[in-house]
Amino acid sequence: MLQKSIFISICILFFSCKSETKQTNVASVDTTSKVEAKLNAEAKTTTTEIPVLNFEQFEKYLQIDDDNIHVVNFWATWCAPCVKELPYFEAVNAAYKGKNVKVLLVSLDFNLKKLNVFLAKNELKSEKVLLDDPDQNAWISKVSKDWSGAIPATVIYGKGKRKFYEHSFTQAELESELRNFINQ
């Protein structure tokens, strides 16, 4: 009888523990995906033309599993606050290169011509892609469940941490956020 009750209590303990681990797993799911070196090669071939990707092709940029801190900024030429903060992302990309920070500028423009004119006028050194996928309801939540769809919006991830921002940054704010990632 005693043994039986001990076994039951072991079972209970075991299961209560299990649900705990499950929760932890869910919390850290965002950092587990693997991305091959292929990705870098792809980007290099397109130095003159901006790669145009649908969400399926783009998604890997949100899950790069390496030693870098990835700053992914969603912007468009028609979005004034986005254009205003572009220099801050450029500055961060240049200044923190040695600290394993990589900036990716994701344009949501729907006029490629207009984007190219803008890029010809304003040299952006950070890596750039154009995300062109009209079924936005299908993918916005995959970037972040907290994203309403307004831009500017930014994801910073790396070293097992991930944060989403649906607002503009000043350069100081951006750098201070970044330092939280670097100095952890």
Binding site: L13, S16, T21, C79, Q136, N137, I140, A150, P152, K163
Partner: protein
């Protein structure tokens, strides 16, 4: 006796391993709360209406100078309310489709009503005068109102233009039935496969439950 000892050991082991996890969890949770505190957007508008909420009526100035409230529409069964503006390319891309929606559904009891949430100080091209010009140019068949002082859009929790709300008149009041995008292709009206707003209004007209109650879309942030 031996088994009993083993069992006790096992219990102890499990309890401790479990405790460790718990500890980790709480530290993570703590870190997360701290992180979230830093991350707070500058203007919190996410606490607006959800589907099922009752909308407080407003009184806003239309481009023709009249003050408009939902209460003015005695014969309406509901509304296709949009937060839109002159300057956002997504809004512009949807202007023709808004006119179509109004033509199709106003006579059935669901007129379009449009509110510009942008501050004219932040966006001079979204001023009341410029709204009048745009409404005339495009031949808007529906009211186009300025959210003067920007008091209405935060109640709705609108975050972008365009941002759609389908509202039905119910015994409880004006009730939100759908929030989100007009359809699933801003680029090409011909290529649309899901007409979220139309589906919602059709369901309401048939007395059915709205199937897709919320969707997301890219849009311009509201200029404050």
């Amino acid at each position: 006796m031996k088994t009993l000892k083993l069992a006790v050991l096992a219990i102890l082991f499990i309890t401790f391993s479990c405790k460790d996890k718990k500890k980790e969890d709480t530290t993570n949770a703590k870190a997360k709360t701290i992180a979230e505190n830093v991350e707070k957007p500058k203007k919190e508008v996410n606490n607006g209406y959800q589907v099922g909420d009752i909308v407080k009526d407003f009184s806003l100035k239309n481009v023709d100078g009249e003050m408009i409230s939902m209460g003015n529409f005695k014969d309406a069964k509901g509304f296709i309310l949009t937060f839109t503006c002159n300057t956002c390319p997504y809004s512009v891309a949807y202007e023709d489709r808004l006119i179509e929606l109004d033509k199709k559904y106003a006579s059935k009891g669901y007129p379009v009503i449009a509110i510009n949430p942008n501050s004219p100080e932040a966006r001079p091209d979204d001023s009341y005068e410029k709204m009048q010009v745009r409404a005339k140019e495009k031949g808007f068949t529906f009211p186009y109102m300025l959210d003067e002082g920007q008091k209405v859009y935060p109640q709705f929790g609108a975050t972008r233009t365009p941002h759609m709300y389908v509202i039905a008149k119910t015994p409880k009041g004006h009730q939100v039935k759908y929030i989100g995008a007009i359809d699933d292709n801003y680029k090409d009206a011909e290529a649309v496969s899901k007409r979220y707003v139309e589906d919602a209004v059709n369901a309401l007209l048939e007395g059915k439950e709205v199937e897709v109650k919320t969707t997301k879309a890219i849009g311009c942030s509201i200029k404050v």
